[in-house]
Symmetry: C2
């Protein structure tokens, strides 16, 4: 992995600039209204150059998702970042709506193991599950969740339900996602989990 001062410094910088530009434009206009040449223009390079650094438009959009995660982790620390990432879809505001739409579409497309976003989502999911399971074990140590609860299974299900609920919520019509999630957590982990 080359660093900023390594032999691939220029490529790294270009890729970064392109990821940032892509994320910026996606947030403002939505990924369907952004063309590769728009991104190239904002990053002050040519469309052809973009396709030297990224094989497809999709690959560039995946890099934009990763860029978003990086920003969150940088802003809130690694663990907070991992939790924040799970909440990404539930966030409000136009910026995040457009981001979440890209996220959802790529998450669906990544159901194909050969899809370039597959690896990204797989490791993201794995990280999220680990963080939540750890949190559940902490609650068990505190005596707020019964020892009989299978922390891994519970983390798995809680995240899956979260994911499904957020997708459904974005497809509308609106419903109270917060209370449903709370109800679910108390049902799975026990009534004292959120106290």
């Amino acid at each position: 992995m080359p660093t900023k001062r390594g032999p691939y410094a220029k490529s790294d910088q270009r890729r970064q600039a392109l990821s940032r530009a892509a994320l910026d434009l996606v947030r403002r206009h939505g990924h369907r209204n952004v063309s590769v040449s728009d991104i190239a223009e904002l990053a002050e390079t040519s469309e052809a150059t973009v396709f030297y650094h990224f094989p497809t438009k999709e690959a560039l959009l995946i890099a934009a998702l990763a860029q978003h995660d990086d920003e969150n982790i940088r802003a809130h620390g690694a663990e907070a970042g991992a939790i924040a990432e799970m909440a990404a879809r539930a966030e409000a505001g136009v910026q995040r709506t457009n981001y979440a739409r890209l996220y959802n579409e790529l998450a669906g497309a990544a159901a194909d193991p050969t899809h370039p976003a597959n690896e990204f989502f797989q490791s993201r999911w794995e990280r999220s599950t680990r963080v939540v399971a750890t949190d559940i074990r902490r609650l068990q140590n505190d005596g707020r969740v019964a020892e009989s609860v299978d922390a891994d299974a519970a983390a798995h299900i809680l995240l899956a339900a979260w994911e499904g609920l957020q997708l459904q919520w974005m497809q509308g019509p609106p419903f109270d996602i917060g209370s449903l999630l709370e109800w679910h957590i108390r049902t799975v982990l026990g009534p004292a989990a959120l106290d």
Copy 2:
């Protein structure tokens, strides 16, 4: 809504033929490997004609999803169809894998309310929730599920978790989705729900 003998008979037939051809090709090759002209060819018409009947390739693919549902409902009856539709993603085999990939990708894209597939998924989701909630109430009448369980909330959460699990399962690596679902149902509805 014009019927087969109404004034738009020809258009209806074309649309049907195109939906069928699209579904057929998607199942065999995956939607990313199918071009509109491939579909036109199989339906024995021209690419330009396809774009007269469907505004975009995506609209045609949505019609293919609906075609799949229609076939299921015709084969298993309306209620069985509604249940079968929920299981769509968990189904095995190459045919259904390719179908499920299209389903997942469009479901994610439909998180945008302006997306043409939004209405399709919204009504599908509404139907599924209704069927499952009804089933839960039946179990309550039979005394196998406690009356204290909120049937609507439970149906909501069970379907959301199902959706999320299946998406995650398709993104791999494999895990035992069946036991997780069973565990979840027993946790939410009570231990006797599946007896």
